[in-house]
C-alpha cells in the first residue's frame, strides 16, 4: 500500500525532529573517533513524543460494549490447520510494484501521482470515490492526465527486466474510462513501446491513437515534480535526444507485476523451477512434464491477464483431477409460475440503454420486477431471492450472455437452462421484444443454449479432436489421462511438428516432446486418423455424429464432444518475392538455416508484421517478434559479424521474452521502426526501401531478407464455421460462448475450440489451452 498521503491530520504534535549532534569537522582529522554523538536524554524524550502511534486496535473495549451479538473475541489466537490433499493448485495474482522505490516519480510526496491500482479503486463504482475520478490534492476534476508506463517493469536496475504484459492494456482501458467519466480530458501516454494484449488489443490501440484526445509519446521519464501550491505535476522526459517537460493534473503510474516470496517454495513442492525473477517457469518442456498432483495458475507463472489467468485456472483444475466424481447435490427445481424479469443498471449502462428502454415490456405483458445498480450484488440478489417463489425461470436484462447464468441458476435453485441473459447484442434492437421472446422461450420449456440436447440418451465418452498441433495434442494427452476416448484427426500426414518445433525453440528436450506424442500414439484410448478431414457434424441424441473422411475412407464417429484445434496458418505474401530457398525467405526457413550452422549471410534485414497489424489482419500475431529476435540472436552466434537490421512497427515481446529484446540490443542488432510497409526494389530483390518513423528515407541492401509472416487462424476457418455452425468473431476467430467464463465452449452445444483457432497464442499458451479445453470437456462428459 502507498503511504497514506491523502488525509492530512496529525496536526497536533509540532516539534521538529532533533538533529543528531556530530563531531566538529576539524576534530575529525587524523583520527577515527565516532562522528555521531548520540541524542541527550531530553532530546530523546521529546523525539519519542513525536511518534504518532500509528493506528491499529488498542483494545479500548468500546466495540465490545456495543456488540449485542457478543461476537468480539479479543484474545483469539493464531491457529494451525492441516489439510490432507490429493492435489494442490498454487495460484496468485502476483503483487504490484511499489513505486516508493523510484523516488524520481515523486509517488511518495505528490498527492496527484497515483498508481494504476489506485486509479482502479477511484473509478470503481463500488470504490471509495463512488466511481468519480478526482485529483487527491484538491478533489478537483483532472483535465490532463499522463500515464507513465513500465513503472517497475523492463528495468534491470530494480531487478525486473521483464514486461509485465498487462499494464499497457490496463492503461488503454483507463484512458477510455477517464474520457467516459470526464468528457473533456486530454490523455498522454509516456511509454517505451506499447504492447497491447488480447485479440482486440491492436484494434483498440489503433483507435485510441487516432483519437484527438490522446497522445502517445515514446519516452524515458526522468522525473516528476509537484508544484506545492497547485498540486500540478511537471513530468520531465527524454524523447529522442531532447529532454522535454510537460505539466499535468494527474499522473498515473502503470505499475508492474512482481513475484512473491512463496513462489519459490511452491515451485519446490511441484518439482518446478523458478526463473531469476522468482516466477515459476512455464516453458513448454515443463508443461509437458507436469503431472497430476501439483499445478500452477495465474501470475505465479509470470504476469498474466485475466483472460490468461482463467485459461490457466481451467487447465490447472484439470491437472489436479483424475476422472470426475458425481456432481455436488444442489437442490434445484423449477416452479410452474411465470418467468421473472430483472434488470441490471450497470449492465444496461454498458449496453448504452437505460431502464426506460425496458418500459415497453409491460405492454408486452412482462412485468420487470426491478432494476438494481448491480444485480449480482447483495441488494439485487436479495430482491431476486425474495420474489423467485414459484417462477419457472429468470430473464436478466443487461448482463453478459454466457457469464452469469450458472451463478444465477445456483443462487436461486433453478435447473440448468432456466436463466436467460440478454446482453449488449440482444438488447441492440428493441429491448422489449427481446425480453418477451426470452420469456416465451423459458415458458414454453424449450432449451436455451445451455440445456443439454436430447436428455435421456447416454452421452458418449468419445471426444473428437480436430488438429494435431500443439493445442490439439495437449488436449488429446489430457483427455486420455482423464479417461476419455479420443479420436484425433489431422489433415497432414504427420503429427506434432508444431509441438516439436516449439520444444526446440524453447530449448527444451526434443525427446520429451517426442515421448509425449508417442504416449498418445501408443495409448489404447486414442485413435489417430492422419490425412483426414472433417466432413459434417450432426446430432444424435445427446451426442454428435462427426463425419470424417481420409485415406481409409469415410467414417462417422459418435462423440460426446468435438474440439476444434485447427491452429494457425502462415501468411503467404504476394507483396514480396518470397520463396523458401532464395534471398527473400521466412523466419521458419531462416531458423532452420541458423540451426544448421549457416553463416553465409553478412547483411540481413528482417521485416516484421508482414501481413499483420493492417486492415485485413487487424491483430498482432503475438509470436513473430519473439521468433525474429531469437533467430537473430541465434544467427549471430554462428556469424558474430553478421549485420542484422530489424524493420518493425514496434517490437512486441511479452513477459520474460523481454530478455530477447535486451539481448538483441546489446549485441548491436539494429532496429528501424516504420509505419508503412517497406518495399523491395524489384530488379535487385535485395534492396529494401523504408521510411523510418522519424521520417528518414532509407535504402538498405542486404544479402538476405527475412520476412516475419503473420500467423492467422487460416483461410479454412470460414468453411469450418459453416460445417460446425460455430460463429466467427469480427476477426475471424472461432467464437467462445464467453471469453472469461467458458472460454473453450463455443456457442454450439458440445463443440469446443482452443488454441490459435480461438485467439492468437504463443506455443506455451496453446498447450495450456489444450489442457484447459480437455478439462472443460471432461466436466461436460462426466466420465
Amino acid at each position: 500500500m502507498k503511504k497514506p498521503k491523502y488525509i492530512s491530520e496529525f496536526r497536533d504534535i509540532p516539534t521538529p525532529r532533533h538533529k543528531m549532534p556530530e563531531l566538529e569537522l576539524d576534530e575529525r582529522q587524523g583520527n577515527f573517533n565516532e562522528v555521531e554523538l548520540g541524542l541527550k536524554e531530553e532530546a530523546v524524550l521529546a523525539e519519542a513524543a513525536r511518534c504518532l502511534s500509528c493506528r491499529r486496535c488498542i483494545g479500548c473495549g468500546l466495540c465490545l460494549a456495543e456488540c449485542d451479538q457478543e461476537a468480539i473475541v479479543y484474545d483469539e489466537k493464531v491457529s494451525s490447520v492441516t489439510l490432507e490433499a490429493d492435489a494442490v493448485v498454487f495460484t496468485s495474482d502476483g503483487q504490484v510494484f511499489n513505486p516508493d522505490r523510484k523516488e524520481e516519480l515523486a509517488y511518495c510526496d505528490a498527492a496527484n501521482v497515483i498508481t494504476s491500482i489506485e486509479f482502479e479503486r477511484m473509478v470503481s463504482p463500488a470504490g471509495p470515490f463512488g466511481g468519480y475520478l478526482l485529483k487527491p490534492f484538491d478533489g478537483d476534476v483532472p483535465r490532463t492526465i499522463a500515464f507513465i508506463q513500465c513503472v517497475g517493469s523492463r528495468e534491470e536496475a530494480i531487478g525486473a527486466d521483464y514486461c509485465s504484459t498487462v499494464c499497457c492494456s490496463r492503461t488503454f482501458s483507463q484512458a477510455r474510462q477517464a474520457r467516459d467519466l470526464l468528457g473533456d480530458v486530454k490523455v498522454t501516454v509516456l511509454h517505451r513501446g506499447l504492447r497491447p494484449i488480447g485479440k482486440l488489443g491492436e484494434k483498440d490501440l489503433v483507435a485510441l491513437k487516432e483519437a484527438d484526445w490522446t497522445e502517445f509519446t515514446e519516452a524515458a521519464v526522468i522525473g516528476v515534480e509537484e508544484d506545492p501550491a497547485s498540486g500540478k505535476l511537471t513530468v520531465t522526459y527524454a524523447a529522442g535526444e531532447d529532454e522535454t517537460s510537460d505539466t499535468f493534473d494527474l499522473v498515473v503510474l502503470a505499475v508492474g507485476v512482481q513475484s512473491m516470496r512463496d513462489f519459490k517454495r511452491h515451485a519446490r513442492v511441484g518439482g518446478a523451477q523458478t526463473n531469476k525473477f522468482g516466477f515459476i517457469s512455464r516453458n513448454i518442456g515443463d508443461l509437458m512434464a507436469r503431472q497430476a498432483g501439483v499445478a500452477f495458475a495465474g501470475s505465479i507463472t509470470g504476469p498474466r491477464s485475466d483472460e490468461d489467468a482463467v485459461v490457466d485456472a481451467i487447465a490447472a483444475a484439470s491437472w489436479s483431477l483424475e476422472g470426475v466424481s458425481e456432481p455436488w447435490p444442489e437442490g434445484r427445481e423449477a416452479g410452474k409460475g411465470k418467468p421473472l424479469v430483472f434488470a441490471c443498471k450497470y449492465g444496461l449502462d454498458l449496453a448504452g440503454k437505460d431502464a426506460s428502454a425496458l418500459a415497453g415490456m409491460d405492454g408486452n405483458g412482462a412485468g420487470a420486477e426491478g432494476t438494481y445498480p448491480f444485480l449480482c450484488y447483495k441488494e439485487g440478489r436479495a430482491a431476486i431471492s425474495s420474489s423467485i417463489g414459484e417462477a419457472s425461470g429468470l430473464v436478466i436484462a443487461g448482463c453478459h450472455r454466457g457469464s452469469h447464468e450458472d451463478l444465477f441458476e445456483r443462487l436461486f435453485g433453478l435447473p440448468p437452462g432456466r436463466v436467460a441473459i440478454l446482453g449488449k447484442d440482444e438488447l441492440e434492437g428493441d429491448p422489449g421484444e427481446a425480453v418477451s421472446s426470452a420469456i416465451e422461450t423459458l415458458s414454453s420449456g424449450s432449451a436455451s443454449a445451455d440445456t443439454p440436447v436430447g436428455e435421456g440418451t447416454a452421452r458418449s465418452s468419445t471426444v473428437v479432436v480436430l488438429g494435431g498441433g500443439t493445442s490439439g495434442l495437449a488436449a488429446a494427452g489430457e483427455l486420455v489421462r482423464r479417461g476419455a476416448d479420443v479420436v484425433l484427426i489431422e489433415k497432414s500426414a504427420g503429427l506434432g511438428k508444431t509441438l516439436i518445433d516449439a520444444a526446440i525453440d524453447a530449448g527444451a528436450d526434443v525427446d520429451k516432446a517426442e515421448g509425449f506424442i508417442e504416449s498418445i500414439r501408443k495409448s489404447d484410448k486414442a485413435t489417430i486418423l492422419l490425412s483426414s478431414t472433417l466432413e459434417a457434424v450432426d446430432r444424435t441424441g445427446a451426442n454428435l455424429a462427426v463425419k470424417v473422411s481420409g485415406s481409409a475412407g469415410e467414417k462417422v464417429i459418435e462423440a460426446g464432444a468435438l474440439l476444434l484445434a485447427t491452429g494457425a496458418e502462415l501468411y503467404a505474401p504476394d507483396e514480396y518475392p518470397y520463396s523458401t530457398a532464395g534471398t527473400v525467405i521466412g523466419q521458419a526457413e531462416f531458423r532452420s538455416r541458423a540451426m544448421g550452422g549457416d553463416k553465409s549471410s553478412n547483411t540481413i534485414i528482417m521485416i516484421q508484421c508482414v501481413g499483420a497489424r493492417n486492415a485485413e489482419h487487424p491483430y498482432c500475431s503475438i509470436y513473430c517478434c519473439k521468433q525474429a529476435l531469437s533467430n537473430a540472436i541465434l544467427y549471430r552466434s554462428n556469424n558474430p559479424e553478421a549485420d542484422i537490421t530489424i524493420l518493425h512497427k514496434g517490437i512486441r515481446v511479452y513477459g520474460f521474452d523481454e530478455e530477447l529484446l535486451t539481448g538483441a540490443v546489446e549485441q548491436g542488432i539494429k532496429f528501424v521502426e516504420f509505419d508503412d510497409p517497406p518495399e523491395l526494389e524489384a530488379e535487385a530483390g535485395v534492396v529494401v526501401k523504408v521510411r523510418s518513423r522519424d521520417g528518414e528515407d532509407l535504402k538498405l541492401s542486404a544479402d538476405l531478407v527475412v520476412l516475419s509472416l503473420a500467423h492467422s487462424h487460416g483461410k479454412a476457418q470460414k468453411g469450418l464455421a459453416d460445417l460446425t455452425g460455430v460463429a466467427l468473431d469480427e476477426l475471424g476467430f472461432l467464437m467462445s460462448r464467453n471469453t472469461l467464463s467458458t472460454p473453450f465452449a463455443t456457442p454450439v452445444e458440445g463443440i469446443y475450440a482452443c488454441g490459435f483457432a480461438r485467439r492468437p497464442v504463443i506455443a506455451e499458451d496453446a498447450f495450456v489451452e489444450g489442457v484447459g479445453a480437455a478439462g472443460a470437456i471432461c466436466a461436460r462428459l462426466e466420465i
Binding site: 456495543e66 511509454h191 485456472a313
Partner: protein, 564 residues
C-alpha cells in the same frame, strides 16, 4: 462415475482470479475443494479493479460472479486469513499446513455495523489503497462479497518496513514514558545487535514513517541507540540480569562466520537451549561490522558489547578457525554438530573491467583496504587516492582515506548523485570532510609508469537516445576525457561471496553470483541440515537484513533439530 464418497481432495492456494476459477472448475467436476487465501477477503487484485475492457466483461462483474459462485458452492470450503506454512508430499498425497490469523470477530457477527460507529482508531484502508480511512474493527473487502468483519491489529508502517519487524511504536512509546528498560527489551525481542544497529542501520523504517508526511520522520534509530547505550551502562554498573536460556537440550550446532547473520543464529539457538559454536576465520567478531565498517561510524567497544551479551548466553566463538578445503562442513558433522549455518558474508571484490587493471601495482579493492585499516594498520596508503563506486563501501573507503592523511581523495561515480546508492547523509559527510566527488564519470584506462599506478583516464558520461528496448544508456561524451593523478586506486564496485574455501565436491547449489541458493522462507540450502543467510545469500546487503535471515534460519533449524 466414481463413488461420491471418494471425492478428490483439492487444495487451491490463492483467492485471486485464477484461484477462484480453479476452485470452481475442480468443484464442478466433483472434487472437494478447500480454497486458502492469505488476506481476509477473496478477489485479490481483481476485486480492486473497476475496469471495463474492450472485450470480455467488466472486472466488477467478473469478480462478483466468481466470488459468489465460490462462496455458495457446496463443494468449496473457503479459508481466508490463512497462509500456507508448509507443503509436503506424503505417500499418495500432499499435506498442507496453514496458519490462520485470528479475525477476532466470530460467526455470531450479524454485520450490524454498530462497532464501526464507536471505534476511535482510524487506520488507512488498505483495500482501498489508502484512499480513505477505516476503523480498527471493520469488514475486510466489500461486505457484499463475503467480506468478513475482523479487528485488524494493523502493523504500523515503520514496523512493517523493518526487516525484522521490531515493534517500534511500542518501544518509542515506552521511551516517551521514560521506561527505558522495557523499551530495550522490546528492541531486543527482535534485534540481537541493538547498539550496533542504533548506529549504522540505514533505517528503512524512517523512510516510511508517517510523521514524515507532516514534517520529518521520527528519529527511530537514534532512539534505539539511546536505549541500547542505556543498557550497556546498566550492564557495566552490574544492574542488568541477562535472560536465561531454555533448558539445555545438549545438541551442538555449528555456525560458520561471526557476522551479524551468524551471531543472530547463535543468539536465537542459544536462547532455545541449543549449544551453538561459532567458527570464525578472523581474530575478531562481527564480520563486516569489524572488517568493513570504519570505527568513526561504529566504535569497536560497541561491537564488543553486543557480542559479549550473546556470549553470555553460552555461545562459544572460536577465532582464527576458518572452514577450508581441509576442514569442511562434513568434518563439522563428524564432530557431532547436528546442523550448520553458513554465514560467511561476501568478501570477493568484483573487477572494474578497465584497461590496465591487472597491469600495475597500486590497486587495493575496498574490502581489502578497509580490512587492513580496521585490523590496525593505520599507515597512510598513498598520497592521492581514487575510489570508484557509489555505494556505502565507496564512501567509507574515501572517508577512511581522508582520515589516514591522504592528500587528495577523489570519488568517481558513473551516474548522477540521484542514482547513487549510498545513504545521502553519508555522501554529504564525505564531501564536507574533503572528498572530491565526480558524478557521471567513468574510468577509461589506468595510467601507469614503471609498473606502478600513476593515475586514471576518465570520461564524462551522458544518457543517450532511447534504443529499441526503450532504455537510455549512459554513453561517454566524446572529447570529455580527463586525467586524475593517483598512486592508489580503490575499486568499490561490488562484492560477491568468496566460496574458494569450499572443497571441489561441496554439493551446494550455488547461484551465478556465487551465492548460496536457499529456500528464502527457511534459509535451507539443498544440503540437509545446512542453512545459510546474510550476505552469503543476498550478496552485499545490510546488517538488519542479515539479522532477518539469521532469525529465519534459526527458527527453521530449531524445527529441524526438534524432529525425532
Amino acid at each position: 462415475m466414481s463413488d461420491p464418497s471418494a471425492r478428490r481432495e483439492v487444495v487451491v492456494v490463492g483467492g485471486g482470479v485464477s484461484g477462484l476459477k480453479a476452485a470452481i472448475e475442480a468443484a464442478d467436476q466433483g472434487a472437494s475443494v478447500t480454497l486458502v487465501e492469505e488476506s481476509p477477503f477473496l478477489g485479490d487484485l481483481l476485486l480492486k479493479e473497476g475496469r471495463i475492457p474492450p472485450d470480455g466483461f467488466p472486472s466488477l462483474c467478473l469478480s462478483s460472479k466468481l466470488i459468489n459462485r465460490v462462496v455458495h458452492h457446496p463443494g468449496i470450503r473457503v479459508l481466508t486469513n490463512s497462509s500456507v506454512k508448509r507443503v509436503s508430499k506424503t505417500d499418495g498425497g500432499i499435506k498442507v499446513s496453514l496458519k490462520r490469523w485470528p479475525a477476532r470477530v466470530n460467526e455470531a457477527c450479524n454485520a450490524c455495523g454498530e462497532c464501526l460507529m464507536v471505534c476511535p482508531i482510524k487506520p488507512y484502508d488498505r483495500f482501498n489503497e489508502g484512499l480513505m480511512l477505516r476503523t480498527a474493527i471493520d469488514f475486510a473487502g466489500p461486505r457484499d462479497f463475503g467480506g468478513i468483519y475482523n479487528i485488524e491489529k494493523e502493523t504500523p508502517a515503520c514496523q512493517e518496513k523493518c526487516p525484522v519487524h521490531i515493534d517500534i511504536r511500542k518501544y518509542v512509546g515506552l521511551i516517551a514514558g521514560g521506561r527505558y528498560e522495557e523499551a530495550i527489551k522490546v528492541v531486543r525481542d527482535k534485534n540481537p545487535l541493538p547498539a550496533v544497529c542504533g548506529r549504522i542501520c540505514p533505517h528503512p523504517c524512517e523512510s516510511v514513517c508517517n510523521r514524515g508526511r507532516q514534517d520529518e520522520a521520527v528519529a527511530i534509530d537514534a532512539l534505539k541507540r539511546f536505549v541500547s547505550d542505556y543498557e550497556i551502562a546498566q550492564r557495566q554498573a552490574g544492574k542488568f540480569v541477562p535472560p536465561k536460556p531454555k533448558k539445555d537440550r545438549k545438541i551442538k550446532v555449528a555456525v560458520v562466520g561471526a557476522g551479524p547473520a551468524g551471531l543472530t543464529v547463535a543468539h536465537d539457538l542459544a536462547l532455545e537451549g541449543f549449544r551453538p559454536t561459532i567458527f570464525e576465520a578472523e581474530s575478531v567478531p562481527g564480520g563486516m561490522l569489524h572488517l568493513g565498517i570504519p570505527e568513526y561510524r561504529l566504535p569497536r567497544d560497541i561491537i564488543m558489547n553486543d557480542v559479549a551479551y550473546i556470549e553470555d548466553l553460552g555461545v562459544e566463538i572460536k577465532y582464527n578457525t576458518p572452514l577450508t578445503k581441509k576442514f569442511t562442513v562434513d568434518d563439522l558433522f563428524k564432530q557431532g554438530y547436528k546442523a550448520i549455518f553458513m554465514g560467511v558474508g561476501a568478501y570477493e571484490g568484483l573487477k572494474m573491467r578497465v584497461e590496465g587493471e591487472d597491469e600495475y601495482e597500486g590497486f587495493l579493492d575496498c574490502i581489502k583496504f578497509l580490512k587492513r585499516v580496521n585490523l590496525g594498520d593505520k599507515s597512510k596508503p598513498g598520497d592521492k587516492v581514487i575510489v570508484i563506486g557509489g555505494g556505502n563501501s565507496a564512501i567509507d573507503s574515501a572517508r577512511t582515506a581522508i582520515r589516514l592523511g591522504c592528500d587528495e581523495v577523489t570519488l568517481l561515480y558513473r551516474r548522477s548523485r540521484k542514482e547513487m546508492p549510498a545513504n545521502s547523509w553519508e555522501i554529504d559527510a564525505a564531501a564536507e570532510e574533503g572528498v572530491k566527488i565526480h558524478y557521471l564519470a567513468a574510468p577509461v584506462k589506468i595510467l601507469g609508469k614503471q609498473g606502478k599506478v600513476v593515475g586514471m583516464k576518465c570520461t564524462r558520461m551522458r544518457l543517450g537516445k532511447l534504443d529499441a528496448s526503450g532504455r537510455r544508456r549512459p554513453i561517454p561524451i566524446e572529447g570529455s576525457e580527463f586525467e586524475v593523478e593517483a598512486d592508489l586506486i580503490v575499486p568499490a564496485v561490488s562484492q560477491r561471496p568468496d566460496i574458494s574455501f569450499l572443497p571441489e565436491e561441496h554439493g551446494f547449489e550455488i547461484s551465478r553470483w556465487n551465492s548460496f541458493e536457499v529456500d528464502t522462507s527457511t534459509g535451507a540450502t539443498n544440503r540437509p541440515g545446512i542453512y545459510s543467510g546474510g550476505d552469503a545469500v543476498t550478496g552485499p546487503a545490510t546488517v538488519i537484513e542479515a539479522i532477518q535471515a539469521g532469525h529465519i534460519a534459526a527458527s527453521a533449524m530449531k524445527e529441524y533439530l526438534s524432529q525425532p
